[in-house]
């Protein structure tokens, strides 16, 4: 198992800077995930990018934990540093009723399309996003296809066979 002590230091540094930034730290399978409250995500991202050399957003994706869960959605940020080669994951839990989160597309420009994809497939709204349109599904699509309660064949008239 990979040594995660170096990565855990980033979580400690974040905590030292502002205790409200870190809700939880998950150290599993040689990977470190930091659970961040929704309000703090932009600050945490700016801090990690500017102070801790996480200059690459490798991926940004959504996850649906199921309609019975609350908070239902998780937005994952996979960070990578081309300076010290560390990988860090940020998790933000978002409830279904208030599925909104602030965009980080001004921090890493690559987040633009990733956030559009997450919005398209999960219906998580990224506030202040420059151009929040569907990116994969047709623009007049009904629903969000990767939600667990989305029927496989879609809604009418998409399910027309």
């Amino acid at each position: 198992m990979a040594d995660t002590t170096a990565l855990l230091q980033f979580a400690d540094k974040l905590k030292a800077k502002n205790a409200a930034w870190v809700t939880d730290v998950i150290d599993a399978l040689g990977e470190v995930s930091i659970v961040v409250p929704r309000e703090a995500i932009v600050d945490v991202c700016v801090e990690l990018k500017d102070e801790h050399q996480f200059d690459l957003l490798a991926d940004l994706c959504g996850a649906d934990r199921g309609p019975e869960e609350d908070p239902r959605f998780v937005v994952n940020y996979h960070l990578f540093s081309t300076k010290h080669y560390g990988r860090l994951r940020l998790k933000v839990r978002v409830s279904e009723d208030d599925a909104k989160i602030h965009t980080v597309s001004h921090v890493w420009r690559t987040a633009d399309w990733h956030e559009r994809e997450t919005y398209d497939l999960f219906g998580v709204v990224f506030e202040n996003h420059p151009d929040l349109r569907r990116i994969l599904l047709p623009s007049d699509f009904d629903g969000h296809a990767l939600r667990k309660d989305y029927p496989l064949r879609g809604y009418e008239p998409y399910s027309m066979n």
């Binding site: 599904l137 047709p138 623009s139 496989l152 064949r153 879609g154 998409y158 027309m160 066979n161």
Partner: protein, 215 residues
């Protein structure tokens, strides 16, 4: 001592034949497919023109990237709902006479992809002449489909195949698919029209010769 010498010795200078027979013979002997490689079936389609299978034996090896120069569309692969209007537009851009081969299970019926993203059969978007089963079909099957299409062409009437202006087919889209005019004034007009008339966009408006075929 060529075949021509023998032939012209025994034939008169003027020959009367059915126009359909000559025109159809010319058409079937030089089919120019438009490549519509959408998925893994396209690999088999490429193999069909390779030296092993040699589609040029049947006069259909000239694959064209431009629909303006093609008369057979080989739909090879699954058609996503977002691709459907693009496919329809490319079909509309092909001049008459034109034919469509639906290659493989996905293009024919959606195949294993029975879901919201895939059109359940390309015949909902364009009229299909020959269906090829298989996942993917072997190149021999595609060659067989082309020879079947050639048989079909020989039975056609030239008069039915006049190239006509079909404005209605230009606006046809599959419901739930993004118009390829996304973000343009035309799309906004269409959306307003759909909202005002409370209609859904039809799957496809049949082109002229499609309507004739059903009569």
């Amino acid at each position: 001592m060529g075949l021509e010498n023998k032939l012209f010795e025994s034939l008169p200078e003027v020959l009367t034949v059915k126009l359909d027979a000559v025109v159809n013979w010319a058409r079937k002997s030089s089919l120019w497919p438009a490549t519509f490689g959408l998925a893994c079936c396209a690999i088999e389609m490429m193999n069909t023109v390779s030296s092993r299978n040699d589609l040029s034996r049947f006069g259909a090896e000239t694959f064209r990237a431009s629909p303006r120069q093609a008369d057979v569309m080989i739909v090879s692969g699954r058609v996503s709902r977002k691709m459907a209007p693009v496919l329809r537009r490319i079909y509309d851009q092909m001049p008459e006479p034109k034919w469509v081969i639906s290659m493989g299970a996905c293009a024919t019926s959606g195949g294993v992809f029975d879901n919201y993203a895939i059109v359940q059969g390309v015949d909902k978007v364009v009229p299909v002449d020959v269906y090829v089963p298989g996942c993917p079909p072997r190149p021999e099957m595609l060659v067989h489909a082309i020879t079947m299409l050639q048989d079909k062409i020989m039975k056609e009437s030239t008069r039915e195949r006049a190239d006509t202006f079909e404005p209605e087919s230009r606006t046809s889209t599959v419901p739930g698919t993004m118009p390829i005019t996304e973000g343009t004034a035309l799309e906004r007009e269409t959306e307003i029209e759909v909202a005002q008339n409370e209609v859904t966009r039809p799957y496809t408006v049949p082109a002229r010769h499609e309507r004739r075929r059903t009569h």
